[in-house]
């Protein structure tokens, strides 16, 4: 039996969890499992957003600041006594606006995504700093904090349910809709896609809007969990989300990427980071580890591709 790339990754995820429960003290304590489950969704949502962008051959470096800006939007509404629903709507629309801005410059003007999002990353950070003056905004009320800290039927964390909903939604959008097919096509061959009658710029616009949406949802979970928001909200997730998408099998040049692969990669990263934390490893070393994994995975990919190609040419000869 031949395993797909994604199932193999799933097995590795299970393996790391088993490994960590043996070597990390208290990994399986209910307290830590709670911690683990509550941290997973915010990172997972960002990674999913990043994955969709990477499938088109782009990258969204501004994703964490998009999230932070949505978080600020939510925080401003809540601290001014507005109802929760309105605050969430404002937060999501902030995320969509950021996404639309990126999408406009990428799809209509045609600047490469790296540069656009590099620029908007500074821009969004500036806007957040100008609004918050570098201070944190906190105190959102008990009810709002339930989103990130509460349980559904006293068992499942609410945020996990939101995460699962978006996993399913992303999978359906990517695999069952015209838009999803176009996203993969666009990542494979932009010109061929255009000539087969797809409006590339519209597809790209929706990709950045979707990334903005997921960033906003992630921001809502984060703000509710921390009960405060600051300019660096979730900023450590930027590289991690690229790394998770790449480890999950998404092709960094675009054209391939599976939702489950990214989800498994997120679980692996979260397990390792959580386990290393319990083992008392310095936080900075965990960052080093993520960077190293990113480069290592791509290096291994390069050599396995080369090996496969060699085998194919030999078979032809």
């Amino acid at each position: 039996m031949k395993l797909s790339k994604e199932s193999l990754l799933g097995l590795i995820a299970v393996g790391t969890i088993i490994l960590m429960s043996f070597i990390a003290p208290g990994f399986l304590s209910s307290n830590n499992i709670d911690n683990f489950l509550f941290q997973l969704p915010e990172f997972g949502l960002l990674a999913l957003g990043m994955m969709v962008v990477i499938i088109t051959g782009g990258i969204d470096l501004s994703i964490t600041y998009t999230a932070a800006l949505s978080g600020v939007g939510v925080a401003l509404m809540l601290t001014n006594g507005q109802p929760i629903l309105l605050a969430i709507v404002v937060g999501i629309s902030f995320g969509l606006l950021c996404g639309a801005f990126n999408g406009f410059i990428v799809s209509k003007i045609g600047v490469s995504p790296i540069l656009v999002t590099l620029g908007t990353m500074v821009l969004f950070e500036g806007i957040i700093l100008a609004i918050t003056k570098g201070q944190s905004i906190s105190g959102f009320g008990e009810t709002y904090n339930l989103i990130g800290n509460g349980y559904y039927m006293g068992l499942f964390p609410l945020s996990i349910i939101i995460f699962v909903f978006f996993i399913v939604l992303t999978a359906i959008l990517l695999n069952k809709t015209n838009w999803g097919r176009s996203v993969y096509m666009l990542g494979n061959n932009e010109i061929a896609t255009l000539f087969s009658g797809v409006k590339n710029s519209r597809v790209l616009m929706k990709v950045y809007l979707y990334a903005g949406l997921l960033a906003a949802i992630s921001a809502i979970i984060m703000t509710s969990r921390y009960n405060s928001v600051k300019v660096d909200l979730g900023s450590s997730y930027m590289l991690q989300s690229v790394a998770a998408a790449v480890l999950g099998g998404t092709n960094i040049q675009g054209g391939y990427g599976k939702v489950m692969g990214t989800v498994y990669a997120v679980v692996i990263f979260q397990t390792i980071s959580n386990g290393l934390n319990l083992l008392g490893v310095h936080r900075a070393i965990v960052d080093v580890f993520f960077g190293a994994v990113l480069i290592l995975v791509l290096t291994v990919n390069f050599f396995s591709d080369k090996w496969k190609k060699n085998k194919e040419t030999k078979a032809v000869a």
């Binding site: 990258i59 410059i105 003007i109 045609g110 600047v111 490469s112 790296i114 540069l115 656009v116 590099l118 620029g119 908007t120 990353m121 500074v122 821009l123 969004f124 950070e125 500036g126 806007i127 700093l129 100008a130 003056k133 570098g134 590289l239 690229v242 790394a243 790449v246 960094i252 040049q253 310095h282 900075a284 070393i285 965990v286 960052d287 080093v288 580890f289 993520f290 960077g291 190293a292 990113l294 480069i295 791509l298 290096t299 390069f302």
Partner: protein, 327 residues
């Protein structure tokens, strides 16, 4: 004269002049020799990094790890100073060691980009994370101030020749050297060729791997030099002092007329780009604009510059196709 105005560098030069005129009304301090020397000395580090980045962007790659590499080298020389005697020899030694350390890190980036063929943005994001993590781990965020640096180094940092700080001379040497490499050597011309059309360049016999390796190694080398400049300018080693500087460096290069798609860029343009950003920053301080708004302005300028660059490139291409059709 007409060809001078048509040059990309001219438009940015015109903007700088215009800005200077406006700012001289806003603040009487602005248009003084002292203020200009301050602006220049304060941006030597950024200018050195931008010069290296120009070569990388010309080959249509990007390096977001420059600030991290510079910090890593600065931290290295900071800890070395603890073991070196207080004499001119150690200052000289630092000038050998710092570029070498930078060069090695640059080679690692170059190897991964050119041999393993990982996209430069991903490689350098990875090394950025690794280096920042290691720096944080080893220094614990500890700050070294001037009392930790040998007196010989401090007197080097304060040295002025003809009333001009030594760091400006250092920048001049780097700029002239890089200009010469880019303009008059085989490897420099190959850099431009690879960026212009890599397939054609490979067909004429240019080794793409070697060139990519060279630009990243050279970037590392310059990051090492920039680390000395940074330590000399601030007379301190701050592990967090340069977070995010890479964005400004890239912005300066793009503003200076280097094409992000590769194939075009000049050292003088990049220096003008750095000067423009520096004047904007200086002007915002002199005009008492809230520091929190400065990032908004910078971000808006970057987004505007890259969009404008792309639009004018598209127009140019459209013009070319028109000529082909007419002929």
């Amino acid at each position: 004269m007409k060809s001078l105005i048509k040059q990309k560098e001219f438009s940015i030069f015109a903007i700088i002049v215009l800005l200077c005129i406006v700012l001289s009304f806003v603040s009487p301090v602005f248009l003084t020799v002292g203020n200009f020397l301050d602006i220049m000395e304060g941006n030597v580090v950024m200018a050195i990094l931008a010069i290296g980045m120009t070569l990388i962007i010309i080959t249509s790659d990007i390096d977001v790890s420059v600030a991290a590499v510079t910090t890593a080298v600065a931290v290295t020389i900071g800890s070395l100073f603890g073991h070196l005697p207080n004499s001119w020899v150690s200052v000289l030694l630092i000038f050998l060691i710092a570029p070498l350390v930078g060069l090695i890190i640059g080679c690692v980036n170059g190897l991964l980009v050119s041999r393993i063929k990982i996209p430069a943005i991903v490689v350098t994001l990875g090394t950025l994370n690794i280096i920042n993590g290691l720096v944080l781990y080893f220094t614990n965020g500890q700050y070294l101030n001037s009392s930790n640096l040998p007196a010989a180094f401090i007197s080097f940092a304060n040295y002025e020749l003809l009333g001009i700080p030594i760091l400006i001379y250092l920048l001049t040497v780097v700029a002239v050297l890089t200009w010469y490499i880019l303009k008059h050597t085989l490897i420099g011309r190959s850099v431009l060729a690879i960026g212009g059309k890599s397939q054609s360049a490979v067909r004429v016999g240019i080794d793409e791997k070697k060139i990519k390796m060279f630009v990243f190694a050279y970037m590392g080398f310059l990051a090492g030099v920039a680390a000395i400049a940074q330590t000399a300018y601030t007379k301190a080693v701050d592990p967090n002092g340069m977070l995010g500087l890479e964005m400004m460096v890239i912005a300066a290069v793009v503003l200076g007329g280097t094409n992000i798609q590769g194939g075009r860029g000049t050292i003088q343009g990049t220096l003008l780009g750095v000067l423009l950003l520096a004047i904007i920053e200086n002007g915002m301080i002199l005009a008492h604009i809230d520091t929190f708004w400065q990032k908004v302005v910078t971000g808006a300028i970057i987004v505007f510059a890259i969009s404008y660059d792309r639009i004018s490139y598209k127009r140019q291409q459209a013009k070319l196709t028109k000529i082909e059709v007419e002929a």
